[in-house]
């Protein structure tokens, strides 16, 4: 390890701690803790959304996937980006108009039922946990590789850091760490893409011609089909990617950190531009890594390709760029897990403790204490689970989180805002049928059962053929909500009128008095 790497790492860690220190001074109420007091601007929140979204899986994972599988790696970039159109057109503004801190708040603006809140909080905790384990396992592997330390120590370092951010700085610290990291990450991407393009003399056509012979796949590298050959499997994965984002709790939570729906909209717009630019650049990184690092070197460092981007930085920019990119990757992981802790903690402290147990009568001080306690519980739980999950496939955990989000959360969000007849029973059945079907189908899928020993968790024939069950579980979520609704007589058209007026106009939206 060179001194440059250590100094850059320490500089970035110090920067995030300074942010946390100043944020901690401002964090006094539950509103400050969960949503930074709702005071972020559209631009700031847009960058923070981009920061939340461009996780280690996006940055390291997609660059690696493109480097190893060419066009098929690019599928992820496309799916993750188009997902923002779903967020923009259907979810962001009504969500901001109806909610306060959590997804459950938004659904409860229509149904004052504890079982609905409980189900929403349960699915939030489940999704956040899967996502967090994935990030922590990935982080552990990365830090282990970079510093040559043991996996458990790596997970512990990341875990303690994220706990510090959330515990002391709440959403304000988490948001600012996200913003700083998003800017650093984009800068790193632009520098690397520039250096890659320089090698191709800034000729995109030439780059494609060269890539035809640069890898062992030959011309097939530039064609789809290297990784995804099964039609339904590919479509199912693409469905999870495009619909999952609009149901991810840590992304949804970001829409409560702004003043009103208009600011929520401008933050999605900023996020969409930044994320789009980022994913275009992943292509240059992937191609660059395939051409200048080489398949065997990438696979040798990490079989999943996760080290492609840092290795490329070293190959084209030397130790300094390598240190910078590695430090940014570290900050990326920290920021994303901090956001996840916050969304998990909000479901535990605000929904379960504050609203279900205390029936919304907890004092401001009790709420803040509950939020901090819940953050600590969630952090410790995630660290312990990640220590045991070292050998689980990270990509599988992330796609599972997206699939549950698309199957359990999205149907309820859409029905709550757009369907007149929707009722309490429907809300509960939609969430539970989406959540349970996704979990059950994954547990009998090829990701868990493989006839080849060691390739998956268990050895055996998978009962369900698709790796990602979204193609089946998303329709089950929607169907569950539909049947649950029409089989119960209950309906409240007066309440729906209120929700409809509020969701669409922003009248009496919480936080608009700030």
């Amino acid at each position: 390890m060179s001194p440059t790497v250590i100094i850059l790492f320490l500089a970035i860690v110090l920067l995030t701690l300074v942010i946390t220190y100043f944020a901690a001074k401002q964090t006094q109420t539950a509103g400050d803790f969960y949503t930074a007091g709702g005071g972020l601007t559209g631009m700031q929140n847009g960058l923070a959304i981009a920061g939340d979204y461009l996780s280690a899986a996006s940055f390291l994972g997609i660059a690696g996937a493109i480097a190893l599988y060419g066009f098929d790696g690019f599928f992820y970039s496309i799916g993750f980006l188009i997902a923002y159109l779903v967020v923009m057109f259907l979810v962001a503004e009504p969500l901001r108009n109806l909610g306060k801190y959590t997804l459950a708040d938004m659904i409860n603006s229509r149904f004052d039922a504890r079982k609905v809140r409980g189900a929403a909080a349960f699915s939030t905790v489940t999704i956040s946990t899967f996502y967090m384990i994935a990030q922590l396992v990935g982080a552990g592997a990365l830090i282990q590789l970079l510093f040559g330390i043991d996996y458990w120590l790596a997970v512990l370092i990341v875990g303690v850091m994220m706990t510090v951010y959330v515990l002391f700085g709440g959403m304000t610290a988490t948001s600012w760490v996200q913003i700083v990291k998003a800017v650093l990450l984009m800068a790193g991407m632009v520098i690397m893409s520039f250096l890659v393009l320089l090698r191709f003399n800034f000729n995109i056509g030439q780059m494609f011609t060269d890539m035809k012979t640069a890898t062992s796949h030959g011309a097939a590298y530039l064609e789809p089909g290297l990784q995804y050959t099964d039609s339904l499997g590919t479509i199912s994965l693409m469905l999870a990617l495009v619909l999952g984002t609009a149901g991810l709790p840590h992304i949804l939570m970001r829409f409560f950190t702004v003043r009103d729906a208009k600011t929520a909209r401008s933050s999605v717009i900023t996020a969409t531009w930044v994320i789009g630019a980022f994913y275009i650049l992943t292509l240059f990184l992937g191609f660059g890594a395939a051409a200048f690092v080489g398949e065997s070197a990438i696979l040798q460092a990490n079989p999943a390709g996760n080290m492609a981007a840092p290795l490329l930085a070293q190959a084209i920019g030397g130790d300094l760029l390598f240190a910078f990119i590695s430090a940014v990757a570290f900050a990326t992981i920290l920021a994303v897990v901090a956001g996840l802790v916050l969304s998990g903690a909000s479901a535990l402290a605000h929904d379960f403790y504050g609203q279900i147990i205390k029936k919304g009568k907890a004092s401001e001080k009790e709420q803040v204490v509950a939020a901090r306690t819940a953050s600590l519980i969630v952090s410790v739980l995630a660290i312990v689970l990640a220590l045991f999950a070292q050998y689980l496939n990270v990509a599988f955990l992330v796609s599972l989180a997206f699939c549950i989000a698309a199957s359990a959360n999205l149907p309820v969000i859409l029905y709550t805002v757009y369907w007149k007849r929707f009722n309490t029973s429907g809300a509960v059945t939609a969430m539970l049928s989406g959540l349970i079907s996704a979990l059950v189908l994954v547990s009998i899928s090829p990701s868990v059962f493989s006839p080849v020993e060691g390739a998956a968790l268990f050895t055996g024939e998978p009962i369900f053929p698709l790796d990602n069950p979204a193609l089946v579980s998303v329709p089950i979520g929607f169907l569950g909500g539909y049947l649950g609704t029409i089989l119960s007589k209950e309906k409240d058209l007066r309440r729906y009128a209120e929700v409809k007026v509020k969701a669409n106009t922003g009248y009496k939206a919480s936080g608009s008095s700030h």
């Binding site: 799916g79 039609s231 717009i269 969409t272 531009w273 789009g276 669409n504």
Partner: protein
């Protein structure tokens, strides 16, 4: 603080949301929104799923388009362009919706009467 909250809740009770929801201006607002959101959502979802459908069921996108860049790459880039264009279209349209929403809110605050 508590008093203010109580006052707000009282005031809120007075709003007849069913009446607002059935008012001509709100109905027109919803119709305009639907006319914009539904077709565009269907469009971008079809455009998006066309890519994996075409790449896994057919191979014709693999024919070269510009030099060694094949149609499949152009289609992939078109997804990015579509996202950014729809982003701008949405902002423009949403601004007109804001104006409609503001008028409706104004009416609610005046006493919920829509004439």
């Amino acid at each position: 603080m508590a008093l203010e909250k109580e006052y707000q809740q009282q005031k809120e009770k007075e709003v007849d949301y069913v009446k607002v929801a059935n008012s001509p201006s709100f109905k027109k607002f919803m119709k305009d929104k639907k006319k914009f959101i539904v077709p565009w959502t269907i469009f971008f979802l079809i455009f998006y799923f066309l890519l994996p459908i075409l790449t896994t069921y057919t191979t014709f996108l693999n024919t070269p388009a510009i030099g060694d860049i094949s149609w499949v790459w152009l289609f992939a880039f078109a997804q990015f362009v579509m996202t950014w264009v729809l982003c701008m279209v949405y902002v423009k349209k949403a601004n007109t919706f804001d104006k409609q929403a503001d008028k409706i809110i104004e009416k609610i605050q005046k006493g919920g009467n829509d004439k």
